[in-house]
């Protein structure tokens, strides 16, 4: 990134605007399409999916449930019914394959809110950031399970902005708009990526799941990196990049192994040198033969 320039400028120049925003656009399409499926019922009377993100039934046969909500039900001393358990299992396996925090970047509606806050933050050049530990989310995850255990209720779902926004959009918002605004302001003024990157226990849960997930981003052509730092600038969890991108000397493989990488693909988008690509966790040998997988054609187009 040239001084004063915006991240991704080189990529736009080299590859064009659309290719340099490919994953961003795909993610928005995915987030809105999933929301659209839920809304098609109540708005248009087309009942493909019923329910909301906590638990749903697709086409009357496919149950899907949020494993974290089920975990809270267990913690509160109840055993969910088979439909919910089956739905939870399907979702669990899905995210174990595609990446835990794919939930965050490809599904969660709050991500659109916090991404917008981050975009505006960059635009307004807001620098200050409250000191929040990014481990807070694990503490919060533990705390919500503890509260469920002590009160015998799924207490977190009383305040969870993620399910609140989804349920609100599909069933009626009430005052939940206030929560959306609060999260936006939190990310805009209190701290960079304060909600998704530091506090959200839902993200923490899917992050833990992501530790074991198969599909991962890899700095597959890391020796092409010219230290423009564009990827660090756009990455919502930028601490996950360094070990993979700069680990060649230490014998660390190029695959981003942190569960907190959201598989958003923004790093792939903005890198003008095509360093990143989606791979799997199994292609993480540190001595990667590079020349064979070089897609120079895309760069030159």
């Amino acid at each position: 990134m040239e001084p004063g320039g915006r991240p991704g400028e080189e990529a736009i120049r080299v590859r064009g605007w659309f290719p340099a925003h490919r994953y961003l656009i795909l993610r928005r399409v995915s987030q809105l399409a999933i929301l659209g499926l839920f809304l098609a019922g109540p708005w248009l009377g087309i009942w493909i999916v019923k329910g909301n993100i906590a638990s749903s039934l697709t086409l009357g046969v496919l149950p899907l449930s949020d494993p974290l909500v089920l975990l809270q039900v267990f913690a509160s001393g109840h055993v969910p019914g088979t439909a919910a358990l089956l739905g939870g299992l399907i979702v669990l396996v899905f995210y174990l394959v595609v990446g835990g925090r794919v939930y965050c970047s490809w599904v969660c509606p709050v991500n659109i809110v916090t991404d917008s806050a981050e975009w505006l933050r960059r635009r307004l050049n807001l620098k200050g950031s409250a000191h929040l530990s990014d481990k807070s989310r694990y503490w919060l995850l533990g705390a919500i399970l503890l509260v469920a255990m002590v009160t015998g209720s799924v207490a977190w779902e009383l305040v969870n902005p993620v399910s609140m926004v989804y349920r609100g959009l599909v069933f009626g918002m009430g005052m939940a708009w206030g929560v959306v605004v609060a999260v936006f302001l939190l990310d805009l003024f209190v701290g960079r990526r304060a909600w998704c990157g530091h506090l959200c226990p839902v993200g923490a849960f899917y992050g833990l799941l992501g530790e074991a997930a198969v599909v991962r981003v890899s700095a597959i052509r890391r020796e092409h990196c010219d230290d423009c730092m564009d990827c660090f600038a756009v990455c919502p969890e930028h601490q996950v990049i360094r070990p993979a991108l700069k680990g060649a000397d230490k014998g660390v493989g190029p695959v981003i192994m942190s569960g907190h990488c959201t598989n958003c693909g923004r790093c792939i988008d903005v890198c003008g040198r095509d360093v990143f690509a989606f791979t799997t966790r199994f292609s993480n040998s540190s001595r990667q033969p590079v020349s064979g997988v070089n897609h120079k054609s895309e760069v030159s187009s």
């Binding site: 019922g41 009942w47 019923k50 329910g51 909301n52 906590a54 638990s55 749903s56 039934l57 149950p63 449930s65 949020d66 909500v69 089920l70 039900v73 509160s76 001393g77 109840h78 055993v79 969910p80 019914g81 439909a83 919910a84 739905g87 530990s133 481990k135 807070s136 503490w139 919060l140 533990g142 705390a143 919500i144 503890l146 509260v147 469920a148 002590v150 009160t151 015998g152 209720s153 799924v154 207490a155 977190w156 779902e157 009383l158 305040v159 399910s163 609140m164 349920r167 609100g168 599909v170 069933f171 009626g172 918002m173 009430g174 005052m175 939940a176 206030g178 929560v179």
Partner: protein, 301 residues
């Protein structure tokens, strides 16, 4: 900060930072957890007008089992159920209905219970007549026009299990002196709390209302037994029959139990049972039991 480092004396600053950070996070999260717990406690209080769908046991455990997915809401063919929105008095996202708006139509196949993936609506509930969503109570005897001696009986007539859940109790109309009051009486043994009576009540504000059972139902002491019920059950009296009272009275005196007390003279030959007001042997009241007789009588009353 400088003073801090001076104070560490021997403690590695990084280690110190780590400790303070951890403590700070723990304290913050502890506070959040506490607030959440307290909030959850408050969310357990169900307002009197909010009725849960069929198959809900006690409120506290329902809030541990329900994941707020709204599948019950979607499968209710009468749009009876809704999910609590932020700002409603009901625990956020949980299903309920307000009888005066839309009562439960008591579907034979109970689709709401079938739709519930978690079992929060008890799948063991197979007959809707066994549902106990709430209990109807004639809360305002001053406005209920049946108590004024007017014919209404609308609540009785709309009740899906009339005759069992709600009956009409004939009482003497003191005001006119010659008519009957047709008093609606709800029986908790059969009332499902569907709320059709509340919906149908002709008053501007219903005089019969459905309340959550915990609110509507009193309870005898657990050890209380009603003698006459026990007697019918057992087929004979379970206590020793009344022995004639023995008084050590002066010669020629007796004790009258009807209120006159000590009096002279011999007791009547056999203590005859007190006359029962409407027993067949009792002298006929001045009015025939058939109102038509009175109406057809020449010369009016």
């Amino acid at each position: 900060m400088t003073r801090d480092t001076n104070n560490t004396r021997g403690m590695d600053p990084a280690r110190r930072r780590f400790l303070t950070d951890t403590l700070r996070t723990a304290a913050g999260v502890g506070l959040v957890a506490l607030t959440l717990g307290v909030y959850q406690r408050q969310a357990r209080a169900l307002p009197a007008t909010a009725i849960r769908p069929p198959g809900v046991g006690d409120e506290a455990s329902f809030q541990g089992a329900c994941i707020r997915c709204g599948l019950c809401v979607r499968d209710c063919p009468y749009n009876t159920l809704k999910l609590a929105e932020l700002g409603d008095e009901v625990a956020l996202g949980t299903p309920y209905f307000q009888a005066r708006d839309v009562p439960c139509e008591m579907c034979d196949d109970i689709p709401c219970v079938k739709a519930c993936p978690t079992g929060a609506l008890d799948p063991a509930l197979k007959e809707i007549d066994k549902a106990r969503m709430g209990l109807a109570v004639v809360v305002d005897q001053e406005s209920c026009i049946a108590f004024q001696g007017l014919r209404c009986e609308v609540c009785f007539n709309v009740c899906p299990i009339r005759g069992k859940a709600i009956t009409l109790n004939y009482q003497h109309n003191e005001r006119s002196g010659k008519h009957a009051l047709f008093i609606p009486v709800v029986h908790s043994k059969a009332c499902t709390g569907c709320g059709k009576c509340e919906k149908a009540c002709i008053l501007e504000e219903a005089a019969i209302k459905v309340f959550p059972i915990a609110l509507a139902k009193g309870m005898l002491g657990r050890h209380y037994r009603l003698g006459w019920e026990q007697k019918t059950e057992a087929g004979h009296a379970l206590v020793t029959p009344d022995a004639p009272h023995q008084y050590n009275l002066p010669e020629g005196m007796r004790y009258e139990h009807g209120g006159r007390g000590l009096m002279s003279g011999e007791p009547p030959p056999a203590p005859s049972p007190p006359p029962q007001p409407f027993a067949p042997e009792a002298p006929l009241p001045p009015f025939s039991s058939n109102p038509l007789d009175t109406l057809n009588r020449k010369g009016g009353l």
